[in-house]
């Protein structure tokens, strides 16, 4: 609308081109701002770079040239050392099983909830949604001791299954919220047509709703995977033994163990951040866009 107005008034049009010229005159200014932002970004990313260049140095190189110097040597000893000491393969497997299972189960749970709330419009559905959301607003500390106690009494303590169940439910709060909103706006004609053709609710869900929702479900699963991978407090308490710990927990309980020299610590930090950074590089667009709908979390 503003453009049309500008075009219809010749005077404004000249003003506009003059303004555009003025904008281009600020050529120097825009380069300064680019430089400023580039420096800010470099400062943000400096810790990553430092971890990387120091994790592949020899301790002697670190001692003589300091942490800022580019490596004069190359060794994977520090990385290998940390990897074997904490049995990093095991932690990676645990984290992957944990996050993958939660991603699938939480999406399923969200889908079933949202199907009943958004399409079935069941009474009390909204209340459940509000309660689920309250469940993730309250601090985990107010659930943690009873969960610890209950997990122990049913024999699920120190088992991945306990945290898989817990986070499938907790993360389904956000999924239910998102999918209910989507399904409330679902075109009714399609559903009615399917019903007339004699499709059961179960068939409608799997043959009509799920295929249409597939992209949204994939975004949700990606989010649940990363959130679960990074969860700390509950896995810290419920996964006590070395064999059941996740990457996130293993790094949190290092407390100076195996990391007496700076290159090994750098290696530990690098290995801890690497899986999620790689994941981020693959799913960057999904994650930065999805965070907007995830703003509620």
């Amino acid at each position: 609308m503003t453009e049309q107005a500008a075009v219809s008034l010749p005077g404004v049009a000249t003003f506009k081109s003059r303004a555009a010229a003025a904008r281009n005159m600020q050529g120097a200014g825009r380069w300064w701002i680019l430089l400023l932002l580039a420096l800010a970004l470099a400062a943000m990313l400096l810790p990553f770079a430092l971890a990387f260049i120091n994790a592949i140095k020899t301790p002697a190189d670190y001692a003589s040239h300091g942490p800022l110097a580019l490596p004069q040597s190359f060794t994977l000893a520090a990385l290998a050392n940390f990897w074997t000491h904490v049995d990093f393969t095991r932690k990676l497997i645990n984290s992957t099983v944990f996050s993958g299972s939660v991603a699938v189960c939480a999406v399923l749970l969200s889908l079933l909830n949202a199907y009943a709330i958004g399409i079935g419009k069941v009474r009390g559905g909204r209340i459940l949604l509000v309660l689920l959301l309250l469940g993730i607003v309250i601090p985990q500390e107010s659930l943690i001791y009873p969960l610890y106690y209950l997990a122990k009494s049913v024999g699920l303590f120190d088992s991945l299954l306990s945290v898989i169940i817990i986070f499938s439910v907790l993360h389904s709060a956000f999924g239910t919220y998102l999918l209910s909103a989507v399904l409330t706006a679902f075109p009714h004609e399609i559903l009615e047509a399917a019903e007339m053709d004699g499709a059961s609710k179960w068939q409608v869900l799997w043959l009509i709703v799920v295929p249409i929702l597939r992209p949204t479900l994939a975004v949700l699963a990606t989010f649940f995977f990363v959130w679960t991978w990074n969860e700390f407090l509950l896995p810290l308490i419920l996964l006590a033994s070395n064999d059941s710990q996740t990457v996130s927990v293993a790094l949190g309980v290092l407390n100076g163990q195996y990391v007496s020299d700076p290159t090994t610590t750098a290696a530990a930090a690098l290995l801890g951040i690497a899986p999620t950074v790689i994941f981020f590089l693959i799913f960057q667009r999904t994650l930065t866009r999805g965070v907007v709908v995830g703003a509620i979390k």
């Binding site: 503003t2 506009k16 303004a19 825009r30 701002i33 932002l37 943000m44 990313l45 810790p47 120091n54 300091g66 800022l68 749970l109 079933l112 909830n113 199907y115 009943a116 399409i119 079935g120 419009k121 069941v122 459940l128 469940g135 309250i138 601090p139 985990q140 107010s142 659930l143 943690i144 001791y145 009873p146 969960l147 610890y148 169940i165 499938s168 907790l170 389904s172 239910t176 609710k201 869900l205 990074n230 700390f232 407090l233 810290l236 990457v247 996130s248 927990v249 790094l251 949190g252 290092l254 700076p262 930090a269 801890g272 951040i273 994941f279 930065t288 866009r289 965070v291 703003a295 979390k297």
Partner: protein
């Protein structure tokens, strides 16, 4: 099909009956969700409130003591100190990152995206967002390595001949809280930046040009367009990060363990400590309950202020 629409009013009644009958079959789909909520959230939450009125070592039978734990809580200096640190973390997670992100988002939208292309601005956005994606424990190891007395930061200061500025960043009671705040700012900027940049996508760039035409400088455009247009996003970011700040645990656990001398202790850490180190489970539960109450009250205040503001905006 068209006659269906014409017949809409008379259709409503049979339809309502039909849909009530229809929705009955859907309750089955809610069963796993309700069951999960009861077992994972509702029952533990009620149990925790119950425990907070008892003394309990985690074994044997809890003994009912009424409000005793809450009375102790009011006299616990560590608890009051932890609330003070929570305010510091609200500054580090909600206030500072929001301010920085607003400026970054405006610069990226107004200058980089408009004059260098969207690709470059997306690249910047992704870069600033990167710390958000890390497990906090891994970020903690990274920063612990940088901030420890023999760590990278002091080595850098030494190499620049600024030995006098070297410090025990996490071990000095006067400095530890500021070090933690810096780490949290670093972690949080990406979140608000991404939300704000998505919000700016709604803004018509010609609005900026029109304002420029009217002689508005960058600061005026920032204030009257960017901030004004982003009010809903600023609210959402403020609410979510403030709640997150009240729940901070992992950075404190990994970097300082609440120390030195409780200088960085937070409510979550105190309840964790009493649950699993001193085994004063009842007291830990009381702290967790108080923390929950605080978060809910703050959330309600936030939502009230928001509703009032949108009402004013509408009238």
């Amino acid at each position: 099909m068209p006659y269906l629409k014409q017949g809409d009013p008379p259709m409503t009644q049979p339809r309502a009956g039909f849909s009530a009958e229809r929705s009955a079959g859907y309750y089955l789909y809610l069963l796993p969700g309700v069951l999960g909520f009861l077992v994972i959230v509702a029952v533990p939450f009620v149990m925790n409130i119950g425990i907070s009125f008892t003394t309990w070592k985690g074994v044997g039978l809890p003994r009912f003591v009424g409000w005793l734990n809450y009375q102790k809580l009011f006299q616990d200096g560590a608890f009051w100190g932890s609330l003070g640190h929570t305010v510091d973390f609200v500054v580090a997670m909600a206030v500072v990152p929001t301010a920085i992100s607003l400026i970054l988002a405006a610069l990226l939208f107004d200058y980089i995206s408009a004059r260098f292309g969207r690709g470059l601005s997306s690249f910047f956005r992704a870069g600033f967002y990167l710390p958000q994606i890390l497990p906090i424990s891994a970020a903690g190891v990274l920063w612990g390595w940088i901030l420890n007395p023999f760590g990278v930061l002091n080595a850098i200061l030494d190499s620049m001949g600024l030995h006098g500025l070297a410090n025990n960043w996490l071990g000095d009671p006067g400095l530890a809280i500021f070090s933690l705040m810096a780490v949290l700012i670093w972690l949080q900027i990406g979140y608000s930046l991404v939300v704000f940049m998505a919000g700016l996508a709604r803004v018509d760039p010609s609005l900026y040009e029109a304002a420029e035409l009217d002689g508005a400088g960058w600061i005026q455009r920032f204030w009257f367009i960017t901030i004004a247009m982003l009010r809903p996003e600023i609210f959402v970011v403020g609410l979510t990060t403030t709640i997150a700040a009240l729940k901070v645990f992992a950075p404190v656990f990994v970097l300082t363990n609440g120390g030195p001398d409780n200088a960085t202790i937070v409510p979550s850490y105190i309840s964790y400590y009493h649950f699993f180190s001193t085994n004063r489970v009842g007291y830990g539960a009381a702290i967790a309950t108080a923390q929950t109450l605080l978060i809910l009250v703050l959330g309600i205040i936030f939502l009230r202020v928001q509703t009032r503001q949108t009402d004013e905006g509408a009238s």
